[in-house]
């Protein structure tokens, strides 16, 4: 299992007139967390894409438990529960400053060849970095 915690600050523009982070912004937050998690493994998502593999999202689920508020420093725990194969699953747990779990999510990504646009399996550039964790 691979776990990484990323911290991000809620922007004014992320809130809506309810005073909470707009529900549609969590996909952006998950991306930031996922991106930093991958970077922490030793390769960046940009390097994966530049080496010929795009990773489009095929599914996302989000559970909104409590609102996130302006200027809060959120902690997003990103979990890769299983070694990627044809797909890779990322799970997210979002905590507020009081360490309360306020949001949970999951995304499923696939691997696509940048040139042929065909589905492929996880590229070796990512396998190498993740192998030690599984």
């Amino acid at each position: 299992m691979f776990i990484y915690e990323h911290h991000l600050r809620v922007r004014y523009g992320d809130t809506d007139r309810m005073g909470y982070v707009y529900y549609g912004n969590y996909g952006y937050y998950y991306e930031q967390a996922r991106s930093e998690a991958i970077r922490h493994s030793g390769v960046t998502y940009k390097e994966i894409e530049d080496s010929g593999t795009m990773m489009p999202i095929t599914r996302m689920t989000t559970k909104y438990i409590q609102p996130a508020l302006y200027d809060e420093l959120l902690t997003i725990r990103t979990i890769i529960p299983a070694m990627p194969g044809r797909i890779v699953t990322f799970q997210y747990e979002v905590f507020n400053e009081n360490k309360v779990l306020i949001n949970e999510g999951e995304t499923q990504l696939i691997f696509i060849d940048v040139i042929t646009k065909k589905i492929k399996t996880v590229p070796s550039i990512l396998v190498e970095k993740l192998k030690p964790f599984f």
Copy 2:
């Protein structure tokens, strides 16, 4: 069952460097579709909120089937499959200009009293408008 179809144009700013609509923007699209669906029933979400009931989202699921492209005029079919009670479910089917289903989603919303922030059941202002459909 309540069904409504809304059309929206993909903005340049909605795309990402993959050339597709960024996955994180579908929550915004669902909101637009949901909002117009409610308006079509004869009341606006704003009127519901102004009359004392907020409707925060508690769950969202999204299935990304095919990418949406810049400048496409998407059709979003919004479905309320059952009469709202303590929760209301909205389902979304997104079609591109070729009438291909490219994205499916679902959101679950609850009803919260604007003043007390307590959970309540569906307000009568919405019940009245939806009753004929169920």
Copy 3:
């Protein structure tokens, strides 16, 4: 002079906790208005880009006069004050439902060859459509 009016609805996600449209969203609104203005001239921005010319923005100014509110149907008047040459200027006037001018803006765009990334002058595909207005 070329003038076109576009209508757009303020989304919930466009507002911030002040209850107003977040100041950072007007660039998106201008793009929607500009894009529909160009389409109205008889060519789409997508067609211009597909024919080999990108039009990146080089300057934007915005004057915020009054707030825009959730669910308001805004009218954005887009003006091209002069025939484009090496640059094209778009001016924007945003009106709320009470026909009050609430926001003014201007963007300056240049023309870039998609392949060589070199600056060029306005492509003929756009010149043809705009000539009748000047």
Copy 4:
């Protein structure tokens, strides 16, 4: 003069199909930089707002010099050139990883009483923190 440098990472969702940061996202970037600059002075924008003063933006200008790219770690230098009075001006200089100035901007904000919605002068909570710099 008050100066502060903030670093932020370009998100995938911030880019558009041109492969660059979408021009409409710089207002968000400026907010992040401005917010961290204020925090660095010893008070947070949230504390200012909670103590009764909103700071809506009245003008923004942006000059786009070079594109910002996905995953770049940008440096945003925020400058308050003069002691705030009835207005406060923030200037922004955005540098990419090669220390190239890629974007410049300025925002003008005013002070509004949260309750009365009337214009006021800079609140003492902010004056105290900024005085040493002027």
